[in-house]
């Protein structure tokens, strides 16, 4: 019951926050000339028109494809490396230190390297997204693996679990709560990496490219519309999709 109560409270908080942000945008629009800052309703009208154009969906599809490929690959690799690294005492601390060092490099800094390495195309963007999402995933899984309760591991050993069974049936479910937190963090990184890489690389249509292009031609309504799309999508993916998956996977905790 307390869950639904906090659910309602957090929903109200979201509505208030959105109203607040839009209000400040509108205040800025009142004080600035319209070629610098468009009114909220003007951007909304533009968005409405965009939603009816095939071009918009083409760009959106491209961006989502890159996000899905990069984020998906990063989750998979992060889970595997985190579980294996977390159970191998010999390599754990070195691996963790390496991740912490690499994690501090902004993912966008890898763009020139991968652009030259893989050539102009989708691949460098996908790799940059994956790099951004991989480290928080691997780190959270590895930390959680390390702190799996001794008695849970011993019980499985006594029951005759093989190494693979142990990873699948004990370690993986035991680290799921931390994995989800890590995956949500990783999504934030992946999203930022995607938009910035698309802005820089500018290969075929996409949300980032569309935003960069609007900026180049000083179309501020276009800029604000794109920012609006980027913000709404991120919120929907994180707060609706990822939260729902989290609830599904951790259902036993809410009972």
């Amino acid at each position: 019951m307390s869950n639904t109560a906090t659910g309602v409270a957090s929903k109200r908080a979201y509505v208030l926050a959105i109203a607040f942000i839009l209000f400040f945008w509108q205040v800025a629009a009142w004080f600035l000339p319209s070629f610098l800052m468009p009114d909220v309703h003007v951007a909304m009208m533009r968005l409405w028109r965009e939603l009816g154009s095939a071009e918009f969906y083409h760009g959106l599809g491209n961006s989502m494809g890159r996000l899905g490929a990069g984020y998906g690959a990063a989750l998979l690799a992060g889970i595997v490396l985190g579980l294996v690294g977390g159970t191998l005492n010999a390599v754990r601390s070195t691996l963790k230190a390496a991740i912490i060092i690499l994690q501090s490099i902004p993912s966008i800094a890898w763009v020139p390297l991968f652009l030259i390495l893989m050539g102009f195309g989708n691949m460098p963007i996908i790799i940059v997204v994956a790099v951004g999402a991989f480290f928080p995933t691997a780190l959270s899984v590895m930390n959680a693996t390390e702190s799996v309760e001794r008695v849970h591991v011993d019980a499985a050993r006594v029951m005759g679990a093989s190494r693979l069974q142990m990873l699948k049936r004990v370690y993986f479910p035991a680290v799921t709560p931390e994995l989800i937190t890590g995956a949500q963090l990783a999504f934030g990184n992946a999203w930022r990496a995607l938009i910035s890489a698309e802005m820089i690389v500018g290969f075929s249509a996409g949300l980032g490219k569309s935003l960069a292009y609007s900026g180049e031609i000083a179309d501020m309504t276009g800029v604000m519309t794109n920012i609006l799309v980027i913000a709404v999508l991120a919120a929907v993916i994180d707060q609706v999709i990822l939260e729902r998956i989290k609830y599904r996977l951790l259902r036993y905790q809410y009972l």
Partner: protein
């Protein structure tokens, strides 16, 4: 399955926990290890399970040196050993699934075993939704379902209240009578040791040595342990409990009632 301890010793760094323990536990025998906290009796149990290795000497099961865990020697932990992400039934079935049984038949058999420990109707609850006593019933089902030849119990009811503990001791006794594994029980509870065991070993402080051995034999027992009052008093005295004072206090309490 017969268990042999041959000059078993265990040290953690400079700390000597067990000092040359020799004993043989016959097939089907029920032995309780009683002693002060941290005296190394749990370590002995973990060695039989294959979770820890001896620093010196060896533990043998039917003549074969114990080197790693095997489902034929299973261990029941004090608590929190059930997996919180699985239902009661899934927890029990897991013991069979780890041995290669398909999930369907494993869950069917788990349901039967849950019936035997009187948990019918709770199959689909998660461990945190049921009481501590019910969790330990589930832990017993999970241990017995694998039909172990050796059942190792590490203070299985230590976290339960006195009444629940006695109920579970009866459940455990019944299961042991039906399945007849060799049992090694580590406990702080002298009454539990006397009620369940055929033989009680009393250990000293670290490094653990056997102070005394009490052979009760495999006889029917109830929770009325008044027939074992002498043994009980002796064990408690060995453990450093002042039985004299306790006895006189009980005398006065009786007087009050009358």
């Amino acid at each position: 399955m017969q268990l042999q301890f041959e000059r078993v010793a265990k040290s953690f760094g400079d700390l000597r926990v067990i000092d040359s323990f020799d004993n043989t536990i016959r097939d089907g025998e029920i032995v309780a290890l009683v002693g002060p906290s941290g005296c190394g009796k749990s370590t002995l149990l973990h060695m039989v399970a294959g979770l820890q290795s001896a620093t010196e000497g060896e533990v043998r099961a039917d003549g074969k040196r114990v080197e790693r865990p095997a489902p034929e020697r299973t261990l029941v932990f004090q608590e929190h050993a059930l997996y919180p992400w699985m239902t009661i039934k899934e927890n029990v079935a897991l013991a069979l699934e780890f041995q290669g049984r398909a999930p369907g038949p494993a869950r069917e058999e788990a349901r039967e075993w849950l019936g035997r420990v009187k948990l019918d109707g709770f199959e689909d609850y998660y461990p945190h939704q049921v009481s501590g006593g019910m969790r330990q019933r589930c832990a017993l089902a999970r241990a017995f379902i694998a039909r172990p030849k050796v059942l190792l119990l590490d203070e299985p009811f230590g976290a339960l209240d006195a009444l629940t503990r006695m109920t579970l001791q009866s459940v455990l006794k019944e299961l042991i009578e039906e399945e007849r594994p060799t049992v090694v029980l580590v406990t702080h509870d002298v009454d539990e040791a006397i009620y369940l065991a055929d033989r009680v070993l009393v250990f000293s402080h670290r490094p653990a040595r056997v102070l005394e051995e009490f052979t009760l034999g495999h006889i029917p027992k109830t929770h009325d342990l008044s027939a074992f009052a002498d043994i009980r008093r002796e064990v408690l005295t060995l453990l450093g409990i002042d039985t004299q004072a306790e006895a006189s206090q009980r005398q006065t309490e009786k007087g009050d009632v009358q």
